[in-house]
């Protein structure tokens, strides 16, 4: 049986239903921006968006995303323009080793979707991916800056 879904707006098919989406992305699709950290849904390094919702792809079998739209870090920039969260990460100089950061960015997109103007407490409670390098001070700034940029992009979009 084949499973079909989109990855970054591209139609794909997969054969092995029990393969975690993480490994399908990394090994079959060559999309290695999504990272492996634990394989048990704990660390968040493998976070992608499935139908817009941040999801840990290491515990999401391919068969469960049949018919869904998957977005990975590689699909965020549009027409050469970075996503506001990516932009914020550069402005606040968030990454150290950088390994957790693609997952942090995907998780932040999900956070801002429901909490567009988060307080510090809300960021603390809702950003649940860990960073082994301890970039939390910059992650906090990054999320706040991302909220501003997302808001600005939304307003610009409305005017256009």
């Amino acid at each position: 049986m084949a499973y079909s879904f989109t990855i970054n707006d591209r139609q794909v098919t997969a054969e092995e239903g029990d393969m975690p989406l993480l490994w399908f992305l990394r090994e079959e699709m060559d999309l290695v921006g999504t990272k492996f950290g634990c394989g048990i849904g704990s660390c968040g390094a493998c976070t992608v968006l499935i139908d817009g919702e941040p999801t840990r792809s290491c515990v999401m079998p391919v068969e469960a995303v049949d018919g869904a739209a998957v977005t990975t870090i590689e699909g965020l920039a549009k027409n050469g323009e970075l996503h506001p969260v990516q932009q914020a990460w550069i402005e606040e100089d968030v990454p150290q080793c950088g390994y957790c950061q693609t997952g942090q960015i995907m998780a932040t997109i999900g956070l801002l979707k429901y909490t567009p103007d988060p307080s510090e407490t809300e960021v603390r409670e809702q950003l649940n991916n860990f960073c082994r390098c301890g970039t939390y001070a910059r992650l906090m700034k990054g999320v706040k800056r991302a909220a501003e940029l997302t808001k600005a992009a939304g307003e610009a979009g409305e005017k256009a």
Partner: protein
């Protein structure tokens, strides 16, 4: 063309791709000695000035998140007067030659990452590289304009003739400059007062690639025709394979082979990073390999010991306390000092084994043929990787190609080459390129753990509250365990006892003892090795002394550190003036007026020197009902000499604080019946945003001293500042880490 840059290292300049290329290191040295064949293989590219005015700088330090891929190139760019916005940075390709012994050929830059040394060792030679390139560009412009070089200036990628109001871009001059003679004599370096790039907060290079998910880590790489390997390990440390039934596994889809990994005695083949016994499954995908691993039926032998970690600690501590330890040092008359003391303070501190838990698990891609070996691995020590491969394969070093990649965290874990060894054994067995990727469980249970230990501390105070006697007994999991043939207690005691740390070293009558804690687990270097516990035990104990003396914790520390002395082990040497300087500085910046305890809130202070730099923190905490606590604010003072990249220093301070907080709060590795109890992040809970310190103020003490690194030194003083604050808030001394539920 070559030029001596220092005693050992030479610089070579050549024309390359329409621009100018400068290389430094072993290859350049060999060229100077007339060994053209060896020189033909460049050690690596350092600076390439391209016709389009972009500049590529490659460094020999591995980027593991410490920021040297930005800070070291800043040194070169500064003296070169480059346009920093047009500088790209990469890691150098490491290469070893068969004539090289010991470490990498000693070039200008140490290859790899460790001990927070990159900035310290690069400071002068890197600037010279930049200054020489600049001088050659100026000479080329002067020749073109037929003016004297000393009438010209440089500015952000341009040679400028101010008198005649004209300028030429570096890119245009590079090809001509490359074939000019190297400048004679000592090259003049800038007065630091004229720095434009160094000393300014610069963002990390390569962030764009990170946030867009570009392949850059070891795990992201691949080779043509590559297979995937995972390893099944015994639950108990030291167990060996008794029997393997791989029939079910081999019948599974995509499975290529099953490889028994040899049992290794440390020192037997390639040095002292042991690999445990294991059974590898090789398949066409990681997922296929994982599934087949679960289908393996393996019997393991009983290990020589089946330890419980707490028992091992208790046994060693009892011996230490009973006077059976090794006397490491005794100065003055300790017994008399204690007999004459007005007060004696005694305390016992204990810290556990902890794991590195780099977020990118250990991995290596290896392809081994009869002629050559190709290795791609995230490593802190490419030279050791190459020598490991040589020892296993018998290939000469020049037939071993190691590609260093960015590492998803290092913290000392990637100083070991065990995962490289394992990949090579598997690749040899299957005769195809293989990517070995450890699962998190494998990584967590096969680490070179941060050694834990018990510190028995005793101080004698006289009637004026001066410390006149000091006893410090250490029982620890020695890092030297199985790292040499000599496993005597003397060998194991090496560097396990902080005889050079203040305030102990300042006490006229002092004694240090040591007893090894037995354990079968491998130990290694974990961010700020040893200092990460010494700093805590000492600075927490000093707080107890201040209390006994009835003095303010900061004032008491400053009194202890009075004087002009310089102490240390030669490699890392410190002065009392600079150590008390950071404490004074943090006191001012944090407006320290004592612990200010009240309503569950309080502050704590600590300062420590390690790995070349001085750091002091003031930590503000709130403890709530049930013993939960938050770190509300941290004020830090740092003296790392000239602050090369203040932004990078702040980042390392922020990261070190949260690493220290995460570790002190929750983390420990324990063994029950010979098995490591923690297997993944559900049982080894690295701190998340909810527990993190996010308000951190980094203050850098202005200095003209040569710079020192910041990858590690901010970590040791954090835990004591935290536990001192928690004591002030609750009256409960945390003398054992992790803190866990002790405040409940």
């Amino acid at each position: 063309m070559t030029l001596a840059l220092d005693r050992r290292s030479l610089l070579r300049v050549s024309a390359y791709a329409g621009g100018m290329m400068l290389t430094v290191g072993g290859a350049a040295a060999r060229a100077a000695q007339g060994d053209a064949a060896a020189a033909a293989q460049d050690l690596g590219l350092y600076v390439q000035i391209r016709p389009d005015n972009t500049i590529l700088i490659r460094t020999a330090t591995t980027e593991i998140g410490q920021g040297t891929l930005t800070s070291v190139p800043m040194l070169i760019a500064e003296e070169l007067d480059a346009d920093w916005s047009r500088v790209e940075t990469e890691m150098m390709t490491p290469q070893l030659k068969s004539t090289d012994t010991g470490g990498m050929p000693e070039g200008v830059f140490a290859q790899g990452a460790g001990g927070s040394r990159a900035i310290m060792t690069s400071w002068t030679p890197a600037r010279k590289v930049g200054a020489i390139a600049r001088a050659m560009l100026v000479a080329e412009a002067a020749a073109r304009w037929k003016v004297k070089p000393d009438t010209l200036e440089t500015e952000s990628g341009w040679v400028v003739d101010a008198a005649r109001d004209r300028r030429i871009a570096y890119g245009e001059l590079a090809a001509g400059a490359a074939v000019r003679a190297l400048p004679d004599g000592e090259i003049a370096l800038k007065d630091p007062a004229d720095f434009r790039i160094v000393g300014q907060p610069q963002k990390q290079k390569n962030t764009l690639a990170i946030v867009t998910g570009k392949p850059m880590f070891g795990i992201d790489h691949k080779m043509e025709g590559m297979l995937h390997a995972v390893v099944l390990r015994p639950p108990q440390v030291g167990a060996q394979v008794a029997s393997v039934d791989d029939s079910a596994a081999k019948a599974m889809k995509g499975v290529h082979s099953v490889v028994r990994l040899p049992d290794q005695t440390p020192g037997q083949v390639w040095g002292y990073d042991p690999i445990g016994a294991g059974v590898a499954v090789v398949a066409t995908s990681h997922w296929a390999a994982l599934k087949a691993r679960d289908a393996l039926a393996v019997e393991w032998t009983d290990p020589p010991t089946a330890e419980n970690s707490a028992d091992m600690v208790a046994e060693a501590e009892a011996k230490l306390a009973g006077g059976e330890g090794l006397k490491v040092q005794e100065v003055g008359d300790v017994d008399a000092a204690f007999a004459n003391a007005a007060k004696v303070v005694k305390a016992r501190y204990q810290a556990p084994l902890v794991a590195h838990a780099t977020l990118e698990p250990q991995n290596t891609i290896a392809h081994v043929t009869a002629e050559k070996a190709t290795i791609i691995t995230p490593s802190q020590q490419p030279g050791s990787c190459a020598r490991t491969v040589a020892a296993i394969t018998g290939l000469p070093l020049e037939k071993i190609d190691v590609t260093m990649t960015r590492s998803g965290g290092g913290f000392g874990r990637r100083l070991a080459t065990d995962q490289v060894a394992e990949a090579v054994y598997i690749a040899k067995a299957v005769d195809r390129p293989v990517k070995l990727l450890w699962t998190r469980e494998c990584d967590m249970r096969t680490d070179f753990y941060r050694n834990g230990g018990v510190h028995l501390m005793e101080a004698a105070l006289d009637a004026d509250n001066r410390v006149i006697g000091w006893k410090h007994g250490v029982a620890s999991h020695s890092i030297n365990y199985r790292r040499s043939e000599d496993q005597s207690i003397e060998a194991l005691s090496s560097r396990e006892v902080p005889t050079e740390d203040a305030p102990g070293v300042l006490v006229p009558n002092r004694r240090y003892d040591f007893m090894p804690i037995y354990s079968a687990v491998a130990r290694g270097w974990w961010r700020a090795p040893r200092a990460n516990i010494f700093g805590w035990a000492e600075q927490a104990f000093v707080d107890e002394l201040a209390e006994a003396a009835g003095e303010d914790p900061l004032a008491f520390r400053l009194k202890l550190l009075e004087g002009e002395g310089s102490y240390g082990d030669g490699r890392d040497q410190y002065t009392l003036a600079r150590l008390s300087g950071v404490l004074r500085h943090v006191g001012e910046k944090a407006a320290w007026k004592g612990p200010e305890a009240g309503g569950g809130k309080a502050r704590g202070i600590a300062g420590h020197f390690s790995f070349g730099s001085y750091v002091a923190h003031v930590v503000d905490v709130t403890v709530t009902e049930g013993g939960a606590f938050s770190v509300d604010r941290v004020v830090s003072a740092i003296d790392c000499g000239v602050a090369v990249n203040p932004n990078g220093i702040a980042m390392q301070n922020e990261g070190s604080i949260n690493d220290a907080l995460s570790t002190a709060r929750e983390l420990e590795i324990t063994l029950t019946n010979g098995a490591v109890d923690q297997t993944n992040f559900d049982s080894y809970q690295v701190m998340r945003m909810i527990g993190a310190a996010t308000r951190i103020e980094t203050h850098i003490v202005p200095s003209t001293e040569a710079p020192s690194g910041m990858g590690e030194p901010a970590l040791p003083p954090f835990a004591p500042a935290l536990t001192n604050a928690l004591y002030a808030a609750t009256g409960k001394r945390i003398r054992q880490l992790p803190i866990g539920t002790q405040l409940a």
